[in-house]
């Protein structure tokens, strides 16, 4: 009896599946057609923006923002925002020979050369290093191309903080950098600044009313509502702030406030206000643009633009805290040194 019921269920399920298939084109008619892989040729005009089931631009996938383009414009380039095709090609050839000038920033790739599957990232192989495909001379846009000067009050704030820690760097875990403590690592921080080689993977998943950004680094996850709700109350401050989003045409706009003063993005305070824009402009590219303002830190807002390129997974689990032997090793080492110094002084 049970077997027969199961058989009829299977038959029904099959029938239902068919019904679904027949129905789905009709249901989909209200929406623009689905994703089509972009042609390899530069005929970008024929490309159609893929959309999710609820008709929003589809940003989903695994993206990589690795670049050696520096945040700030190298001195001597003046107001030059873009390289010519020729200059860009020359520069790319030069960097791949290992000739790193001021025009390139190797960032994370210089230091972190241990990774259990580095081939996935390609970043330690200088021959694969790349500049941002938008040919910008700096990630920061505009004629100046640099972070605006820091306000005197911000300089003082940051100097005081540094001074307080001076000479106490090894006293306690509280004196160690946030990245060592697995609280905020450079490439999980927002706004998202790329490194040259690793830790640049971002997975985007979209569900009804939400967009999720999952950074590979420290499994940092932002679940962003896009239903127009306001920020959480101002008295609740978070390391990564509070992000809410909305769609402006085909662009996802994410607004983030409620930062703590401790997360300090390039010396910012808790008044930091971040606006990020995500626009998919090719099958394999999203343009990521952010503007930061903080009236207690910079004289004016500043904006950067970074292309993100579609890449293959998987996104590994980055369990930073679970494997953190760094803090205990550093502190233990400092205590041993102190003990030895005390012994020596006693003799």
């Amino acid at each position: 009896m049970l077997r027969r019921s199961l058989a009829s269920i299977a038959a029904l399920a099959a029938a239902m599946a068919l019904v679904m298939i027949v129905r789905s084109p009709a249901a989909g008619q209200a929406q623009p057609p689905g994703a089509k892989p972009a042609p390899a040729t530069p005929a970008a005009k024929s490309w159609t923006l893929p959309r999710t089931q609820d008709g929003k631009p589809d940003l989903q996938g695994i993206w990589n923002n690795a670049t050696v383009t520096p945040l700030q414009r190298p001195k001597g380039l003046g107001a030059k925002e873009f390289y010519s095709d020729e200059e860009f090609a020359k520069l790319s050839t030069r960097i791949r020979r290992g000739d790193v000038g001021e025009e390139a920033e190797l960032g994370a790739a210089r230091e972190n050369d241990l990774r259990y599957d580095i081939s996935l990232y390609g970043g330690f192989d200088i021959s694969k290093a790349r500049f941002a495909s938008n040919k910008r001379t700096s990630l920061i846009v505009g004629p100046e191309g640099v972070v605006p000067p820091m306000l005197p009050e911000a300089k003082q704030r940051n100097a005081e903080r540094a001074e307080k820690n001076k000479g106490h760097e090894f006293d306690s875990y509280e004196n160690r950098p946030l990245s060592e403590r697995c609280i905020l690592m450079a490439q999980e921080m927002i706004p998202m600044l790329p490194g040259a080689g690793e830790g640049n993977l971002l997975q985007i998943v979209q569900g009804p009313g939400y967009v999720v950004f999952l950074h590979e680094i420290d499994h940092s996850t932002r679940v962003i509502p896009t239903d127009g709700r306001p920020h959480i109350p101002q008295n609740i401050r978070e390391w990564q702030g509070d992000s809410v989003g909305h769609w402006e045409g085909n662009t996802l706009v994410v607004d983030t406030t409620n930062f703590t003063a401790r997360s300090a993005f390039r010396g910012s305070g808790e008044k930091l206000h971040l606006v990020e824009r995500f626009t998919r402009n090719a099958d394999d590219q999203i343009t990521y643009q952010f503007t930061v303002e903080d009236p207690t830190t910079w004289a004016k807002p500043w904006t950067a633009e970074i292309p993100m390129t579609k890449t293959e997974g998987p996104v590994y689990e980055w369990a930073c805290h679970e494997g953190n032997t760094m803090i205990s090793t550093i502190l233990h080492g400092a205590r041993v040194q102190e003990e030895e110094a005390a012994k020596k002084a006693g003799k």
Partner: protein
């Protein structure tokens, strides 16, 4: 034409519901409920969910008990619970039951939750924190408030884990109303609860999420680990939707709260 299809679909669903009831009569199961559908016809599980029980204290039934920190008094005593294990008892192999007891005796020292380590599956589902399901077509992401834990359930062709991990590797598929998730490649370091219930690296978990009403899900997990248990066993519990209008997951980056415990003894002594 379209109407006829719709009609046959509704009829099909009705028959299917009746058949489901006939085929799986279980007193524990709620009456068949058909969840709202995604555009591609799958049950819609998106939302913020939370368990409302004492499973994280002890999967098995337990009386109230004194907490581990006397100064916290009634605030952090162990609340009583009927347990969520089918058949009431976890079938440990004789040698492994002793290890469970030892874990329990050293709970605060050994429980990875105390250290803010990623919780693994199924514990993530019944920790006393909300989690959010974000359902897409090719994958389903679950973001947990505790420790910012996260997993992406692959809904495409099943794939193999590239490496063992704390949250494991999840392949999902639909069985009627139920999301079935097969979880493998979990680290052996996670526990099931605050009572020392544990597993080895051979852990295999099959989760089943079944909508039972607009705001509740049935959650079941079958746990198999031949190195630790004499047979597979099952837990089940309802999960409740956080229906507050402004419900959100907030940031709970807990490494900060475990640092004194982990690194405090290595702090520079004032006398030095």
């Amino acid at each position: 034409m379209r109407n006829r299809f719709t009609a046959s679909m509704i009829a099909g669903v009705a028959v299917l519901c009746v058949l489901s009831l006939a085929a799986w009569p279980s007193p524990a199961q709620a009456p068949a409920y058909r969840a709202p559908r995604t555009a591609d016809g799958k049950p819609q599980l998106s939302g913020i969910w939370q368990a409302l029980n004492t499973a994280d204290w002890d999967l098995e039934g337990h009386a109230a008990a004194m907490g581990p920190v006397p100064s916290l008094g009634a605030v952090f005593a162990v609340p009583p619970g009927l347990g969520v294990v089918e058949g009431d008892e976890i079938p440990y192999l004789p040698a492994m039951a002793a290890k469970k007891k030892e874990n329990q005796a050293n709970w605060v020292k050994l429980d990875p939750e105390v250290k803010c380590y990623l919780p693994g599956v199924p514990r993530a589902a019944y920790l006393p924190y909300p989690f959010q399901i974000v359902q897409s077509q090719n994958n389903i992401l679950i973001s947990y408030e505790y420790a910012g834990a996260v997993r992406v359930i692959n809904m495409g062709a099943p794939s193999k884990a590239p490496a063992d991990s704390w949250m494991g590797w999840s392949n999902g598929h639909w069985e009627g109303e139920t999301l079935v998730v097969d979880v493998t490649s979990q680290m052996e370091d996670t526990w099931f609860d605050r009572s020392g219930n544990f597993h080895s690296d051979a852990l295999h978990v099959v989760e089943r999420y079944t909508p039972r009403s607009a705001d509740t899900l049935n959650y079941e997990a079958t746990i198999e680990d031949p190195k630790v248990f004499s047979r597979p066993w099952k837990i089940s519990m309802p999960l409740y939707r956080r229906v507050e209008k402004n419900a959100r997951l907030l940031e709970y980056k807990c490494p900060e709260f475990a640092e004194e415990l982990l690194y405090g003894p290595l702090r520079k002594k004032p006398s030095n």
